[in-house]
Structure formats: C-alpha cells, structure tokens
C-alpha cells in the first residue's frame, strides 16, 4: 500500500520565481495538509484541503496557495519566492480522523 508521495524531492529556484509542489495522498485518505519545516525547526501548518476546498489556513501569506483535485491529490503553489521560503515542504494525508501520514517532503532551496 503506497504511502504519501511527494514530487519533486528536491528543487532549486531563484528569488521571485514561482514553484508548484505535488502530493498524492495515501490510498483511501481524503484530507491533505501542507506543512513547512525550516532547518532545525518543527513543521508549521500552512493549510488543509478537504472536498477540494481549503478548510483551514495557518499564518502564511497569500503567496502560498493550493488546490485539491477530485482524486484527492493536491498542489502547493508559492509565488514570488523569497530566500526565507527555503525549507522542507511536507504533505500529510488523513481520513476524517487524526491519523496523519506524512510524505518524505520536497526540499526547496531558493537562491
């Protein structure tokens, strides 16, 4: 049974560019959440998608946006990249309960 799949695994972007990260949830899961983890810190909640809608959002600017597709997969988009956006971006899926499964993340480096 495949777990949470994220792509790409690594990405290098230039300041000001835009990036799209992708997530396929664990089979049977319908809720997707995104987290940002800076080096040496715990993950911080960005937003959560359920039934193709953003249900809750953390303290992140509008440059961060997302989408959930009918097959429950999700995308995270970041516009106008800043150096401070460099981090490990984690996707977590769940099924209407608190059992979150995390992917291995996308390491984004902004130069």
């Amino acid at each position: 049974d495949a777990g949470v799949t994220q792509s790409p695994t690594h990405l290098i972007k230039t300041r000001g560019q835009q990036v799209t990260l992708r997530c396929s949830p664990k089979s049977g899961h319908d809720t997707v959440s995104w987290y940002q983890q800076a080096l040496g810190q715990g993950p911080q909640f960005i937003f959560q998608y359920y039934e193709e809608e953003e249900r809750q959002r953390g303290n992140f600017p509008d440059r961060f946006s997302g989408h959930q597709f009918p097959n429950y997969s999700s995308e995270l988009n970041v516009n106008a990249l800043l150096l401070g956006d460099s981090a490990l971006y984690l996707c977590a899926s769940s099924l209407s309960d608190y059992g979150y499964t995390f992917g291995s993340g996308t390491r984004l480096t902004v130069v």
Binding site: S33, G42, Q48, G58, D97, Y98, F102
Partner: protein, 112 residues
C-alpha cells in the same frame, strides 16, 4: 496562543542509558497529543497518539505518557538505531478542519 515546547533540544546517550524527552503544551481544545520520529531528510513517522491524561502507550523501547500539561517519551535501553529527531504535536480542531501544532523537536543521538 497555542504552543508546544520540547526539551531538551538535543540529547546524547550511551547505548543502554535510559532517559526521557519532555513535551509541554498549551493547546486550546486539544484533541490529541502526537509523537513522531523524523530521520534526516525524511518526513515524520508516526509513533503514538494520546487522547487523555493518564494514558500510556508503548512500542518496543519507547513509552509515551500524558498529563494535563505535559507528555513524556521514555526511552528504555536505547540503541544507536533510535538516533533521530523526536517531534511532539498537539492536534487542534475537528477531524477535517484540524491542524497539528509541533514543537521544535528533540534530536537524540545514541552512541554505541
């Protein structure tokens, strides 16, 4: 403000030397307290969920406990393969509109 604080930030143990990791939380409407293990460059791996004060859960050399203000992860006779960062998180909200509030983690190194 909801907050989760872990201590110590880093811990070095000799193989077989038992110890405990602390997680203090102030999360309004806490619906569960989670422990995860994270290896370098990987996503968090689920260990335990605790729901009420007094609850305890065990898995191999790990035991998690919960009080009204703190959670502890006890590591008994650790081995080098237990070296990792351990993350504590409080769950806030309902099933489809909730979020995990993480501490900064405790990085454990177990030397042979």
């Amino acid at each position: 403000e909801d907050q989760v604080t872990q201590s110590p930030e880093a811990l070095r143990l000799q193989e077989g030397e038992s110890s405990s990791l602390n997680c203090s939380y102030t999360v309004s409407g806490l619906r569960g307290l989670f422990w995860y293990r994270q290896d370098p460059g990987k996503g968090p791996e689920f260990l335990f969920t605790l729901y009420s004060a007094g609850e305890e859960k065990e898995k191999e050399r790990l035991k998690a406990t919960l009080t009204k203000k703190e959670s502890f992860l006890h590591i008994t006779a650790p081995k080098p393969e237990d070296s990792a960062t351990y993350l504590c998180a409080g769950f806030h909200g309902s099933s489809n509109t909730g979020k995990l509030i993480f501490g900064q983690g405790t990085t454990l190194q177990v030397k042979p």
